[in-house]
């Protein structure tokens, strides 16, 4: 049976799922320099990422999750990607970067890769706070509206300023809501709010 070819995910995703890298096994004795926990079991997924840092370079990254196969594989991949990377660079990693490394994810699973990315950002912010670099924490009051395509409320405001007036125009410009579609209601509300504010 051509089992290999019929699997749900790419070989890279499968490999990370079968042998997840950098699992946090001894949480109690792990000397972390930054810790980030995101998600909520009520929403069905939760992710913990911890990092160790030396001279602003991530020397180790470990994680745990209550999440699906995509969350497991993408965080495993992420934990490999950031080792040896400067903290500042790792802070800029996006879910798209992870998906690119993985080859691809089924479109309705892209959301799952966001979890590891967000937990890492939180861990890095925790590290910045612990090391008096809090000024590096992006204080922009942006909120991610579309998690799949990483579109923020600021992006929506900018789109309105550039002339977008309908949800479809907004989708076309920002790609917002083109994956899981869960953000549609929220995005439409903001769209109307910003149209009211800026026009």
């Amino acid at each position: 049976m051509s089992k290999q070819n019929t699997w749900l995910y790419t070989d890279t995703v499968k490999e990370h799922f079968i042998n997840p890298k950098n699992l946090l096994e001894d949480e109690e004795n792990y000397q972390e320099d930054g810790r980030g926990m995101v998600g909520n079991i009520k929403c069905g997924d939760q992710m913990l990422v911890v990092i160790r840092v030396q001279d602003n370079v991530i020397t180790d990254c470990k994680w745990k999750t209550y999440g699906c196969a995509s969350a497991i594989a993408s965080t495993s991949m992420l934990s490999e990607m950031v080792k040896g990377m400067s903290v500042d660079k790792a802070y800029k990693i996006t879910p798209e970067d992870i998906v690119r490394e993985l080859g691809s994810l089924p479109s309705h699973k892209i959301h799952c890769s966001v979890l590891g990315d967000r937990a890492l950002r939180k861990a890095i912010e925790d590290y910045y706070e612990r090391t008096d670099q809090a000024e590096k924490i992006k204080q922009e009051h942006v909120k991610i509206i579309c998690q799949c395509m990483n579109v923020t409320d600021k992006d929506i405001a900018d789109a309105v300023k550039k002339g977008d007036r309908t949800y479809e125009e907004l989708q076309f410009r920002t790609k917002l809501g083109t994956v899981c579609g869960q953000c549609k209601e929220k995005a439409e509300r903001l769209l109307h709010e910003y149209i009211h504010l800026y026009t």
Partner: protein, 396 residues
């Protein structure tokens, strides 16, 4: 490298019975349109009508009360949408009776059709169930009234196997003059089903759940009860379901029905034995688990278990890598992990609703399959729990 393959997802679908296969192989030449008047067509038609009689005998109905459909979802859609017909069979759904009562644990083809009818202006009530998935009869009595047009309650639940007291529930519906439908997709072929004993007005089932082909099923509609076609444009099924009859599908279903008549009672004790073994084995080998569904009034082939702290989809895919096919009630499909709506309705918390695995056995299931699952399962659960943020050796 070939690994052992163990299929334990019979509630999702079943393989064709070898004798159904044989029957189908011999039937491929029956290409004529059963509605044609020539001999080619008439001979096929005769066979399909003969099968209609045997299916009617199987569920205790009259042959003209059997409508061939494309399966459970179509049968369910047809029944619910009858109430969009303002004046059918003497019942005025438009005025006095416009409400639907169903349950919170139905198959999506009932729940989402009911929600669609809600969007058209009908009132829909979803009945509560208890922790075993049994319908809360008091809640039913509170909601039912002279306004109720149709009550639809599934016979046996696909995820947890709980069997409802359909006869008693139908009796309550009739006391208020409402029509009663049961989605018996998971019941027919697994437990005896007789429409006269149950006193239901409509009943749905599907051939592929009991070793017949996919894409063919039945809607039983009691004589003289309101009816309106879902698919228009042909005189087939006495104008109740347009479209060229699915000859091969019906022939396969007919054979499956015939086989189940004798095999059902033979394989049920095997299911009971294997399920008890699986259950005891899981209990012995894996801590922090919850069995879902009713302890007794449940399908003999279905075992649903929540592994605390272990997310269902990950468990399913690790078992898949070991060659074991099971299913989970939860699904990571629309951007967030959706817990099982059935388990949430039974009142278990989201964590357990996310971590449920359904084992469903069938006629090909062998004792060594149970042994193989019991051999592989503990390490899979341990692996998922090791990476879990919500499991630390005890139930939180």
């Amino acid at each position: 490298m070939s690994i052992k393959q163990v299929y334990m997802d019979y509630n999702a679908t079943t393989p064709l019975h070898p004798e159904v296969k044989e029957t189908l192989n011999a039937a491929f030449e029956l290409y004529a349109n059963p509605s044609s008047m020539h001999e080619f067509g008439r001979s096929v038609r005769n066979r399909l009508e003969h099968i209609r009689q045997s299916i009617a005998d199987f569920i205790g109905s009259k042959p003209e009360e059997i409508i061939y459909t494309a399966g459970g979802s179509e049968s369910n859609n047809t029944v619910l949408k009858i109430i969009t017909c303002a004046r059918c069979g003497g019942l005025d759904f438009g005025q006095g009776r416009s409400e639907i009562i169903t349950t919170s644990i139905e198959h999506p083809s009932i729940i989402q059709t009911a929600q669609y009818l809600e969007s058209l202006g009908n009132t829909v009530h979803f009945l509560r169930v208890d922790k075993y998935g049994k319908v809360d009869v008091n809640h039913f009595l509170e909601l039912i009234s002279e306004k109720t047009a149709l009550v639809s309650i599934m016979y046996a639940n696909n995820e947890i196997g709980t069997i409802q007291d359909i006869k008693a529930l139908a009796e309550i519906a009739h006391r208020y003059g409402a029509l009663f439908h049961t989605d018996a997709v998971q019941a027919v072929g697994k437990i005896p089903v007789n429409v006269v004993e149950l006193a239901v007005d409509y009943l749905s089932f599907s051939a592929h759940k009991f070793y017949g082909p996919k894409g063919v099923g039945v809607l039983y509609a009691k004589k003289a009860k309101p009816f309106s076609a879902l698919i228009h444009g042909g005189h087939q099924e006495a104008g109740r379901r347009a479209g060229t009859m699915n000859s091969l599908g019906i022939i396969g279903m007919g054979k499956a029905v015939q086989l189940m008549q004798t095999e059902m009672s033979e394989i049920t004790p095997k299911f009971e034995k294997y399920k008890a073994k699986l259950k005891a084995g899981i209990l012995r080998r894996i801590p922090d688990i919850t069995f879902n569904g009713h302890p007794e009034q449940t399908l003999a082939n279905t075992l649903n278990v929540s592994f605390h702290g272990a997310e269902g989809e990950a468990v399913l895919l690790y078992l898949d890598l070991e060659g074991i096919a099971v299913s989970t009630g939860s699904a990571c499909s629309t951007g967030s992990l959706e817990p099982s709506h059935v388990l949430l309705a039974t009142g278990v918390g989201p964590e357990l609703a996310h971590g449920s695995i359904r084992f469903s056995l069938g006629r090909e299931t062998a004792e060594e399959d149970i042994d193989y699952v019991l051999e592989k399962l503990p390490s899979v659960i341990a692996k998922v729990r090791k990476m879990s943020t919500v499991y630390s050796g005890e139930c939180k």
